[in-house]
Amino acid sequence: MRNESLWVVAAWLLATSPMQTSRAQVTREVTDAAGRVVTLPSTVNRVADAWHANNALVLMLGGADKLVATTVQAQRQPWLRKLYPRIDQVPAAFNAAGDLNVETLLGARPDVILMAYDGALPRWSAAVEAYHVPIVLMPNTSLEGLKTTARITGTVLGPREAEVAEDYIRYFDANIRRVRRETERLSAGQRPKVLHTSSAGILTADGLDTVIDDWIRLAGGRNAADVTGNGRPVTLEQVAAWDPDVIIVGTAPNQLSRKAILEDPRWREIKAVKNGNVLVNPSGAYLWDRHSAEAALQVLWAAKMIHPELFSDLDIKRETINFYAKYFHHALTDDEYSSIVNATAP
């Protein structure tokens, strides 16, 4: 009898040992923005993206077919739907408030979840980690952070996507260098005051320590708003006191807001309005001005708008068309380009 049990044990050991060794080979490790070392399977085929803006990046890097769960906001971006019609069928496990429907998410059986890192773990991380689904957090508060995000996303998705990410980062860096070359020698006096505002119902300004502040400065401007953070409510009088030279209207309904500003008698005396320098920020697969993959284009666009005299040879249209062709595999028509740069629906 003892012999038999010995045989059973031996047989079992034999049977399981290959699995054990192969299991040791099927994981890899990634360090995320929160400094956590996350263990991932070596091939990732199912990705849940909890960060609205990042969904476009996933698409861009070529990983769109791996997307198995997304956010409600991403699904609603008109250009994202156009470039990637399948996104309608992808279950939206994450809603606008940042809450998660755990069952929807787990039903999609993701290998990994991508999420933005704002200093704290998301509320639902404990619930998800109980099911052993790894979460990778990525930075979202600066232009440099966007590059890291692209790199981490590429790494998570796989070698092919990682390569595209490196290519994108090179392109991004090239754009930044190109712009910085002209703007870094500008003195404070030569930098126009730029106000980036959303006025969907309430007048707000995007101030210091934001992605927006980053590209304003890079593009050779100064942030007109001396408040800190995104979307701070300000009075019209305060805006008049800042007297910006350029006003950029971000976030829908951009055209409506721009029109309201140009027609409102109270804005009339502000320099930007007097000079007709009220612009609408382009919006494509995601809003260009807010930590999106198209930030690489945003820096070019902003530079051209703020310092047209320094960038007369910069053709935003050509850059956009090339970008979309290369990364989204989509040939933009004139009308489509128009709708992106004017932030209207395609």
Partner: protein, 333 residues
């Protein structure tokens, strides 16, 4: 009412209005402000920058006037309701106007329809909310106070739920913050245009309330007693509800939800002139106008980023109310 009290009631708000035009984040020398104002009355050579004139006449002046009318309107509505409901803890929101108006505003923001539509929809929803409350409260022949209060609670809860639904659907990058800030209260959107829209209902409602000050005294003794003295209580309550709703819906539509004004100012006014509504309503108007004007001056000047009105009125109003409570030992005398 003593003569000096009457004079103070008129002069103090006007004085504060005048002073408010001199403060703000945009630096306009005091002499310029004075001359800009004077130039409206008689011709003066223009030697100040056009931007200064825009600031004083197009931004500060409409905003200050609006603050006064909203403050006065909310206070007089609160006073009238406290008399009608015979309860000093009542505020103008009790019939659900703020919750309904808030939902209307959220809806307009979600649909991105622009500032005018926002005010109109918020106003109409405010009226709708109170209308629903009134219909719900109407029993066989009358609208007893208890039914009004309960119906108001129900309608407010319903619209609050709808509002939460709207917030849930809102885009967190643009719409949700807009809704949130709107709900906190702000006179950000004031302009001459807004004045033309919002002042008529407030003035109309206010005039209506002023006309029924004496019957309101009687009503505040109790429904049955009022009827025995010949007051048609249902008709009077209807008039009061219509007037206060006009005022409050207009105020909320332009200013968001500003609490603790309609609740606290009537108490101050009562402490000053007594419970007779003939003196109480004008006193509430005057104190309310001055109060909200001062608060708004702080809200728009204290920091670069505007402080929402609702936060300031709560921070000032709640502790002050607690002080009143302690002082009167709950006696409201």
């Amino acid at each position: 009412m003593r003569r000096w009290a009457l004079i103070a009631m008129i002069l103090v708000p006007l004085a504060v209005l005048y002073v408010s035009l001199f403060v703000g984040r945009f630096t306009v020398p005091a002499a310029d402000v004075a001359r800009i104002l004077a130039s409206r009355l008689w011709p003066i050579a223009r030697d100040w920058p056009a931007s200064a004139e825009t600031i004083v006449l197009q931004i500060r002046l409409p905003r200050a006037i609006l603050a006064m009318f909203v403050g006065a309107g909310l206070s007089v509505s609160g006073a009238a309701f406290q008399g009608m409901f015979r309860n000093p803890l009542v505020s103008p929101d009790i019939l659900g106007v703020s919750a309904a108006s808030g939902f209307g505003a959220a809806l307009a923001l979600l649909l991105s329809r622009g500032a005018f539509a926002l005010e109109l929809v918020a106003f109409l929803f405010g009226i709708l909310g109170v209308g629903l409350t009134y219909l719900l409260a109407r029993t066989y022949r009358s609208t007893p106070v208890l039914m009004l209060v309960l119906s108001g609670v129900i309608v407010a809860a319903f619209f609050s739920a709808l509002l939460s639904g709207a917030k849930y659907l809102a885009d967190p990058d643009s719409k949700l913050p807009a809704i949130t800030y709107w709900l906190l209260g702000s006179l950000n959107g004031s302009s001459m245009q807004t004045l033309k829209l919002v002042l008529p209902p407030i003035i109309l409602g206010g005039a209506g309330l002023m006309l029924v000050r004496w019957p309101l005294n009687i009503l505040s003794m109790g429904d049955e007693e009022a009827r025995s003295l010949g007051v048609s209580t249902d008709r009077l309550k209807g008039i009061i509800i219509v007037c206060t709703t006009l005022i409050t819906a207009a105020a909320v539509s332009v200013c968001g939800i500003v609490g603790w004004v309609g609740l606290v100012i009537p108490h101050l006014a009562r402490m000053w002139v007594g419970p007779d509504h003939r003196a109480l309503l004008p006193a509430a108007c005057s104190i309310g106008a001055t109060y909200l004007l001062l608060i708004d001056d702080v809200a728009r000047t204290a920091s670069a980023s505007e402080i929402p009105l609702g936060i300031l009125t709560a921070i000032v109003g709640a502790p002050f109310f607690a002080y009143l409570l302690r002082k009167t030992q709950g006696g409201w005398q």
